[in-house]
Amino acid sequence: MDTIYKATIIVVFLFLSTYGVQAQTTQTKLNQIELMKQFLGSWKCNLSKDTTAFWETKSYGTGLENRYNYVKDGKIVDEGKQLWGYDMTIDKFYAATLPKGKDIYIDVYYFISTNKCRMYTLYDIENPEKAPVRWEIEFKSPDMFIETYISNNEPFKIRTFTRKK
C-alpha cells in the first residue's frame, strides 16, 4: 500500500512538472507574424550627409512587401523590392531582396524578444552563430529602430530609422 502511495505521488509530481514546463514554453514563444508588423509603414534613415534611405512596408497576407530606395542629392542611386514571408517550419521569416539591376539575396529574420529582431543571410542558416556578418534591429519606440551590423561579435555599422509621418 505504501509503495502504491509513493508511486502515485511520483506520477502526480512528474505530471505537474511536465505541465509547468509546457506552460512556460508556450508563454515564451514569440508570435513572429505579429511582431514583424512593427516594420509596417514608411521609414527613413540618413546614411550620410547627402544620402537617405527610404523604406515603404505594406502588409500582404501574413507577410510584408517592401519597396526601398536610396536618394543622393535628390536622385535615386539604388532601389529594390522585398518580400518578407513566414516559414512555420523554422518559425522565422525569409526576406527576399531584389535590388534593381543586381542579384537577388535571401535573409532570415526573427524576433528574439518583443522589440529585438536578429538577421543573417540564408547562406548561414546551418550555422548562424558562425555567420561572418549578422545584424540586429531594436525598436526603441514604435517610431524608431536601430539597425546594428555585427562581424566577429563586433558592431561595425549602426543605422537609425525613424518613421515618416
Binding site: G63, G85, G101, K102
Partner: protein, 165 residues
C-alpha cells in the same frame, strides 16, 4: 635541337586544345537572365474544368516580379506574389513565392537549353539530382509552355500555360 622542336610542337598542340575547350565552354554557357525573359507577360493555365491560374510577369532590373491568382467560378481561391532574381554564384534564379495568407517558399530555377528549364526547392540546390520535388518545363512556342511536376521522378501533373493577348 630535335627535343626543343618536339617540345614546341607539344606546347602549341596543348594551347590549341585548351583554346578549343574554352571556346566550347563559352558557346554552351546559357544566358539565364535572357532566357528567363521568355516568361515576361500575361499567362493563363487551366488547372481543371472550372479553375484557371493567371500569371503576370514583369521585368524588374535583371529579375522579375510576378503576381498570380487562381480563379474558380469567378472567385479567387489563391493569390500571391513572387520575386525572381539571378544569383551569379549559382548561375541560377532564386524564386521567393508568397501565397497570400500562407507562408513563403524559396525555389531555384534554371534553363538547361534555350527552351527547357527546371525548378526545385532551394534546399536541394546543392544537390539538384537528389531533389524529390521538381518541375520540368519547356517552351513549345513563345506563346506556350508546358510544365510537368515530378515527385520522386514520377509525374504528378502536367499543365499547359498559354499567353494571354
Amino acid at each position: 635541337m630535335k627535343t626543343i622542336c618536339k617540345t614546341i610542337i607539344i606546347r602549341v598542340f596543348l594551347l590549341f586544345i585548351t583554346n578549343g575547350i574554352l571556346a566550347q565552354t563559352t558557346h554552351t554557357k546559357l544566358n539565364q537572365v535572357e532566357l528567363m525573359k521568355q516568361f515576361v507577360g500575361k499567362w493563363e493555365c487551366k488547372i481543371s474544368k472550372d479553375s484557371t491560374l493567371f500569371w503576370n510577369t514583369n521585368s524588374y532590373g535583371t529579375g522579375f516580379e510576378v503576381n498570380f491568382k487562381g480563379v474558380a467560378k469567378g472567385k479567387i481561391f489563391v493569390e500571391g506574389k513572387q520575386l525572381w532574381g539571378y544569383d551569379k554564384q549559382l548561375d541560377k534564379f532564386i524564386i521567393a513565392a508568397m501565397h497570400k495568407g500562407q507562408g513563403i517558399k524559396i525555389y531555384s530555377a534554371w534553363f538547361l537549353s534555350n527552351k527547357k528549364y527546371e525548378s526545385i526547392n532551394y534546399n536541394d540546390v546543392s544537390n539538384p539530382e537528389t531533389a524529390s520535388w521538381k518541375i520540368e518545363g519547356e517552351f513549345k512556342s513563345p506563346d506556350m509552355y508546358i510544365e510537368t511536376t515530378l515527385v520522386n521522378n514520377k509525374t504528378i501533373k502536367t499543365h499547359t500555360n498559354t499567353r494571354v493577348k
